[in-house]
């Protein structure tokens, strides 16, 4: 997962460019946070915990959303 993610160009405003494919993406504020955490190598569960600590969201919902976010990254070919 890490390898592909680390190659992405990610701006502080949530603009993401995949130099390998030429595709561009946009992430929301929390999406940016999750993406950066993934790029640092954090595990999904760890990321969900940190979301639940920072935001008004139940851990269970955060887990589901992070999993969904990762699935989206995968469907866009950003992770393998």
């Amino acid at each position: 997962m890490m390898q592909k993610l680390s190659r992405l160009a990610v701006s502080a405003e949530g603009f993401v460019f995949n130099p390998a494919s030429g595709d561009s993406f946009q992430v929301s504020a929390t999406g940016l946070r999750v993406l950066n955490a993934l790029r640092e190598g954090q595990a999904e569960d760890q990321i969900a915990h940190s979301l639940a600590e920072t935001y008004q969201v139940e851990l269970e919902d955060a887990r589901r959303d992070v999993a969904e976010f990762c699935a989206a990254l995968k469907s866009f070919g950003l992770t393998s």
């Binding site: 701006s11 603009f15 460019f17």
Partner: protein, 346 residues
Amino acid sequence: MRPLKIGLSGINAVDNPGPGIGVARSLKEDPDLQVQVVGLAYDAMEPGLFMDWVVDKSFIMPYPSGGGDAFLERLLYIQQHYGLDCVIPNLDAELPHYIKWARTLADRSIQTFLPSMEQFRLRGKDRLVEIADRIELALPETRAVTNLEGLVQAIDDLELPVMVKGSYYKAHRCHTLPEALTRYHELVAEWGYPVIVQEVVSGDELNVVGLGDGAGHHLGLVGIKKLSVTAQGKIWTGVTVRNEAVLEAADRFVRAYQWRGPFEFECMVQGDRVNLIEVNPRFPAWSYFATGVGVNLPARLVRHLFGMPLPALPEYEAGKLFIRYTYELVTDMASFQKAITRGEVP
């Protein structure tokens, strides 16, 4: 005097170009007008966003077809944060919105110079009959269709080949039913209903770009002939012409309807017979051609609108050539990224 900040749309200078860049260049070329061009874009890939020598500042706009107030709010935001004295909308699909909001915008000191809604509706292909009658031009037979049954019936009536046209944009000459079907589906997918089916009339296609002052006078008319067009039917090379029958018809049009604002007048000329093909209530994509021969209509529009002196109308010469060409721009992602994340460039 501080520069006028003039918003304009259609800065999509692509293979089927919007009129915006030509209008922007015209404004910049009037030596006595101080203008900052504000590009109003609908997609982060419109070339104008990247052409900083023509467009000073650009904003991504909500689609006008979304309805509601978002569009208006966005214009007011631009006015507050950057400044906006006037908007010249260049895309058919947004015109009715601007027309509807002209008063509201004027109340907030954003000027427009547009036809009324009633005048705008005249461009409806079924209203062409009325215009043609009133200014004594001929009209090719025309049907507006909203389904396949109608299309087939229209083709039966008019006989192949026929012109198949979108309700806002695009026109295709079709020689076979399958071809017409394909075009029909393309047009519906892009521009919706109705689709216009028109008898093909032969002759020379002559077009006029003009500007009406709203009181029955024109502020400039330039006639051209398209020498070659792209696969999409867009002018590639052209030549100025002075066909009195056509120029007079355009003048009658302005007088009869007290036309206000820019327009494009398309005719098919066959000896003495002038067929009216289309009236577009905005600048055409080749407006810069007129500027290039000395009739700078966008600048005249702005001058008229803001009560500035209007130079005498120059005579233009027939036989001036228009050559469109391609050109490439290489840039980094910064502007694109700004367009995506902030909705404005730079």
